[in-house]
Amino acid sequence: MGEHLLEVQDLKLYFKVKAGYVHAVNGVSFSVKPGERVGVVGESGCGKSVTALSIMRLIPQPPGEYIGGSVLFEDEDLLSLPESQMRRIRGSKIGMIFQDPMTCLNPTMTVGAQIAEGLRIHLKVSKDEAMKRAISLLDQVGIPDAARRINSYPHQFSGGMRQRVMIAIALACNPKLLIADEPTTALDVTVQAQILELINGVCKEFGTAVILITHDLGVVAGMTDRVVVMYAGKVVETAPTDELFANPRHPYTLGLLDSVPRLDEQRTSMLRTIEGAPPDLVHPPAGCPFMPRCAFARAICRTMPSLDPLPGNSAHRKACWVDVTDPREQAYAEKRRRARLEAMQAAIALAADETAQPAS
């Protein structure tokens, strides 16, 4: 077990609502080695952010409830730690960056005070010492004239600079693990690249492991060593990044990759989207959650497959009954997809007829 820094095992976190339980995280397992960069991808509302927050035990309870599983960090189960010990881990061992740097910085505190706060809590250094370190951190994240900007307030910074400040705060105590929850979603493309480069560089320098949560597959491809694909609160596929992009084995991963426009494709061809929407997590399907939208679906999909390694490649795991590389399966999927498209076109034509009739 010692080789993993973080090991999430069958984590289940539900939210209690009037209608029952929202199965936000429903049996997620993955692990992170020291210094490894792991990407977590999936579409909106599939439990990526909740997974991250539940590792940090930052989900308010109620409404959140840990139903089962464990989160082992350095062989210590975070879910059974008392709150005071957990507080010691937050910031010092695990840092976190959020999506929107506009709202994550306190508008009434100088950025220096905010960077220094973590240092003062965890390293118990003096105010002057903390400020000195804050200046060098601010310098490291690429803010010019750091000694002077340290006394600025967040509203005097641009979005990209604020995200740099967030990174400085998260890395202030040199944590072993950095959780970045869509760190570039709120930024424009040029700044995105800079921020990713910065996270990459700084983490390599400090030897920090990274969990990068995103729905941008391009970011994952360039930034991570391994990818975890999540759908409806479950991990559906995990593999080394290159392997996943070259050889996706879960229909959902295939769908995600297909829905990204490519430069080497004909421009007029239609983008292949994943039709439909994720299931209602209050009543998740008993079997594979992707089955209702899946072109490869068969009767067997009514029971949930386990996350098994591919034969001959133990690093690549998928939770699917179907072998998507089998030409017969592909032909079957194509047939289903076409039937669906035709049914949809027929329905549209019918609706058009009906609206046209009263006029005539």
């Binding site: 507080r87 910031g91 994550c104 910085l105 508008p107 009434t108 706060e117 973590g118 809590i121 010019p144």
Partner: protein
């Protein structure tokens, strides 16, 4: 510079090459501090400045006035000559004297000291108490919130002046200190509600979550992260509360429940003088107008601060 020289060498047409403009500290625009921005905004509000100027004048008038003008003996009765009682304005007594020959100007100044001190001190106590109750209720929510806020509701449900009359008649000794404590003990309720509301909204902010991710304790989140963000409404409320407390003190003293003679306060001056309003109206008008303008000024300043402390300021 190296690059531009190289380019120059390779460039046969000997064209001038414009060097890159690096961003140096000298080029970065010097920004106003947060305090400066608030101050500048406040200064743009004319009514608030007039109020603030009047308040400064009132403080000087009440606290330095007696020594500067020499009218420093509010309780001395000048009854040796009949012309000194109920006298009109004169060089000797610029605002006249009352029925026992006391110098009205001296009493107005010293009475102002009492009123201002009572107003400010009771505001301070009420705000501290209200912020304490409100922040715990708003931050922790649930049962803590319920208990504290129902307690607040109970206090608010009792008729305010009636309660003050009864309590001051039975428990206080008529000194300014007892009046301060009495007013503060029942004046914290609105600030508690206000602070609770602010905390309820602010605790959901992402920077509170961010503070939690670096391991900040609840206490530090409440008072270092959330409270400064609620400072605007609290300061405005505090300013308005001073005016309200001065009125409360005056009402109590007017009815004889507050500050007891011979200590002067504006309220008790009106209370004593109301029987003489047809003989010497000045005795009522002087303290009355002083109360009016002081409270008005506090309210104008409060309004000005409300605008200046608007948290959505984006200017630099």
């Amino acid at each position: 510079m190296d690059i531009s020289e190289q380019l120059n060498l390779s460039n046969t047409t000997e064209e001038e090459i414009e060097p890159f403009l690096e961003v140096t500290p000298a080029l970065v625009q010097k920004r106003r501090s947060q305090g400066r921005i608030i101050f500048d905004r406040f200064m743009r509000n004319k009514a608030a400045i007039i109020g603030a100027a009047f308040l400064v004048f009132m403080f000087l008038f009440c606290f330095l006035g007696p020594t500067v003008t020499g009218h420093n003996d509010p309780n001395a009765t000048h009854v040796t000559s009949v012309s000194d009682t109920l006298a009109g304005p004169s060089w000797k007594y610029p605002l006249g004297t009352d029925d026992v020959g006391r110098d009205t100007l001296a009493r107005a100044m010293v009475g102002g000291q009492t009123s201002l001190i009572v107003g400010l001190a009771s505001m301070l106590m009420a705000i501290i108490f209200g912020v304490g109750i409100g922040s715990f209720a708003g931050y922790y929510g649930g049962i803590v919130d319920n208990l504290l806020m129902r307690f607040t509701d109970v206090i608010l449900a009792i008729p305010f002046y009636l309660l003050l009359f009864v309590l001051s008649a039975t428990f206080t000794d008529g000194s300014p200190r007892s009046v301060i404590i009495l007013i503060a003990a029942f004046g914290w309720t609105y600030s508690a509600r206000l602070v609770r509301g602010e905390f309820l909204a602010l605790r959901e902010r992402e920077y509170v979550l961010a503070a939690r991710t670096i391991g900040a304790k609840n206490f530090s989140i409440m008072f270092r992260h959330i409270l400064p963000n609620a400072a605007g409404p609290i300061i405005v409320n505090a300013t308005l509360l001073v005016g309200a407390n001065i009125i409360t003190e005056s009402v109590l003293s007017y009815f004889g429940f507050g500050i007891q003679p011979p200590v002067a306060s504006w309220g008790s001056m009106i209370g004593v003088a109301q029987n003489l309003i047809d003989v010497d109206p000045l005795l009522v008008f002087v303290p009355g107008l002083l109360i009016f303008f002081t409270v008005l000024s506090f309210n104008l300043v409060g309004d000005g601060l409300r605008d200046a402390l608007d948290p959505y300021m984006t200017e630099r």
